[in-house]
Structures are given as C-alpha cells and as structure tokens.
Amino acid sequence: MDSASEHAEINELLSWYVNGTLESRDRERLERHLAACALCREDLAFERTLAAGLANAPAVEYMPAPSLRRLHERLDALAADSATGPAMPQAEPQAPMATDVGRGQTAPARVPHARFASRGLLAASLAGVALALTYWVVAHLEGAASPGADYRTVTMNAPRAPRTVIRAVFAPNLSVGELQRMLDDAGLRIVAGPTEAGVYSLAATSSRPVSESLAMLRQHEAVRFAESTEPLATPGAEASAGSPPPD
C-alpha cells in the first residue's frame, strides 16, 4: 500500500481511535502512522475536541414512567383498535416531531359526519362507537384487550389503595430498615405493594405536602421512580415526575 492510501485509510479510523473501540491491530497501525504524519496528528487533536464536546449530552430531564404510561396508552388503543375496528379513542395528540411509525395502526379513522347519509345510519354508527368504547373501557380495565392479559402498567390501571398519594419503586437491595427510615422521614407509609412490577402505594402520615414528600423520596438513590397519584399544585410538577432508571 502506498503512503497516500495508507494515510487516507488511517485517517478515516481516527474517530474510533479516539472513542477507544478500535481493534488492537488497527490501533497499533494507526499509532505507527501518527508518529510520522503531522496531518493525522492535527486531525486527531480536532477529533478529540469533538469527542470532548459530544461526551456530555445536553441536560435532559428523564421521565421514563410517564413516557411509558403514554406508550401503554398507545398500545391499548392499538389492541382495542384491532379488536373492535377503527372507531376508538385517539391515543395521543400528534406532536410536532412525531414520526409516522405505527401511526397507521394507532390513529383511529376519523369518520366525517358528511359521510353519513341519513340520521338512522348516524345513530346506528354512534351506537357502534358507544359499544366499541364500552368494550375498550372494559378491556382496558380488565387487561383483556392486551396480548398479555395479566399485564398491568406501572403508572395506570392499577387499583389504587385508599389514601394513596404516591407510587414508587425502590432498588431491590434496599433493606427494610432503610426503607422504613426513608418513609418516616418523608411522612409516608406503605398501604399496598409491591405489585409484580415492584410498585409500592404510599399514603401520607402527616400534613406534609405531597410535593415535599415526593421531593424527599427523589433525593434517595434507592428510589427508582416516584410519582404523585394526583396532579400536584406546583406548576411543572409533572415535568419531574420520574427519576431516571439506572442504566
């Protein structure tokens, strides 16, 4: 291989030398070339700057629990749609960045009123819609519409224990003593759980605001996620409803 080809080939590998994924044979070859090639050394320095700039992702608040709930809503709509036809509730509004993946199946067919030639036909169709909705609600509540009939989402559809104000998932290695202390500090007690998904229902033991108890829970590393069962008074509280799950 001539030196120009060698240079071009090596130069294209610099990114993976920088991110540390290059095979050892290529890495050694690249390092030998670098010793003799000032251009590649310059490019390498630039690549390292790019890598440093891209190493830290922009700050994003991760909210897996509410996002997962919305995915389940779409799947529920999808299951109900396939079971009862197209006249089902809209799963979710179209977001500006929404892609059309799966939209064909999830978005219900919206039937314009002009399509109905007579009032009788309209009434019959509305009755069909009502039946379909009833079926969807029942199926939704019983979990019968989904392929996994015993499935229950983490964030919705679970029967709520009385006075539950917060639902939370804790790290499996959290000891009972630690859990108890954490709950005592936050003015909470367990009223139900854990569910199969590991969700505990928590009730308040004091007059402390739920938002404050929630904030205290979220300070603990052992809290995988915690969310209020009711909308919080604080504006934007929903925006911080989920703690990031561990990678």
């Binding site: 994924t21 390498l44 320095a45 630039f46 700039g53 922009p58 799947l75 989904s146 499935y151 998904a197």
Partner: protein, 198 residues
C-alpha cells in the same frame, strides 16, 4: 462510555422473545433499560423532552409490533438502536422539511461560528447545523454513545465505508465551520503529544 457489548445479550434476547409473545411487562423492562440511552442519544437533536419521548415511544411501538421478526443473528441492542436511528432520521427530516424556506436560507447564510467565549459543546451545537442528519447521528453514535465502527454500520444498516465517509466529511465540515476551534486545536496539537490511549 457505552458500548453495545456491555449489554447482557441473553437478558435482552429473553425479554424480546417474551415481547414477541405479547408480554408487556417484558416490554416495560426493555423500555426502562433503553430509555436513558435513547434519551441521551436524541437529546442533542431536540432540547424538548416531549419530542424525545415521541421518538422513543415510536421506536418501542415498532419493537412491540416487530419483535417476532427479530433474527437471532444480530444483537438485540443493535436492532433496537437501529429502529431508533431510522425513527430519529425520519423525524429529523420531517423537522427540516417543516422549516420555512426563508428560515432555511437565513440559517445557511448565517455564520456558524459562535462567540469566542462559548464552550466547545455550544460551538458544536452550532456546527451541527451544517451537517446532514446521517452525519449528526453518526457523530452522536460514535462520541455520544461510544459505538465502534462496525456497531454503527450495523445500527445504520450502512457499509463500513459509508460510516467512515460520514465521519470524515462531518469532521471536515465542522473544521471549516469552526475555524477558531480548529485553530485552537492546531495550536494545541503543535505543543502536545498525541501518543497514548485517549
């Protein structure tokens, strides 16, 4: 640095088989296992979480619908990231399409070199505007998620040569777009040693 190889393949594979059988709990596990990685991958392309969520949920909708078509020859993580890549690509193209001609012209005319005091990542955020969607996503896969050349080729379903070319051209575009940054680098390169594992 994240690597595809670090994900236990057996666990993911079992989960995906369960998903193919209609087990939504398995889907939840997969979702929670990948959510952070995907959110990070997508965060540079939109600061709005709801838009990031849209792509993630679209990705997992496809996972739910297509799990039975997964072939054991590939890694589950590669398969899922590949779906996310294509979903994100489609979304980025749609975003670009929605921009008005005026704003596109204005963007192409404006300087991509930001203020001197801006930090490197802010410079890069500006520089990203001159890259194609494929180049941006490839850069993010390599430096944001730490994927190898072969892994990126698998995720993007592109030949290795294409991935190399995307990275090469991205670098060249950014160098032209960010001369001040490149100059700083070149000055540093003259003084510093390149040797050693980065």
């Amino acid at each position: 640095m994240t690597s595809l190889a670090k994900t236990p393949p057996r666990a993911d594979r079992e989960l995906l088989r369960a998903v193919a059988d209609g087990d939504r709990r398995a889907l939840e596990e997969l979702y929670l296992g990948y959510h952070r990685r995907l959110a990070r991958f997508l965060s540079r392309f939109s600061p709005r979480y709801e838009l990031i969520e849209e792509v993630i949920n679209d990705t997992f909708l496809v996972v739910w619908q297509s799990a039975d078509r997964f072939r054991d020859a590939s890694q589950v993580s590669t398969w899922i990231m590949g779906i996310a890549y294509r979903t994100a690509l489609k979304s980025l193209r749609r975003q670009k399409h929605h921009q008005s001609a005026t704003s596109l012209e204005a963007a192409s005319e404006q300087s991509c070199e930001p203020a001197v005091e801006a930090e490197t990542r802010d410079w890069l955020q500006q520089g990203f505007k001159v890259l194609s969607e494929e180049q941006r996503l490839t850069l993010e896969l390599a430096y944001g998620l730490g994927y190898s050349l072969e892994e990126i080729a698998a995720v993007t379903e592109s030949p290795v040569g294409t991935v190399k070319a995307r990275m090469f051209h991205a670098r060249e575009k950014l160098r032209q777009c960010l001369p001040r940054l490149a100059g700083t680098v070149e000055e540093r390169a003259a003084d510093s040693s390149w040797a050693g594992v980065p």
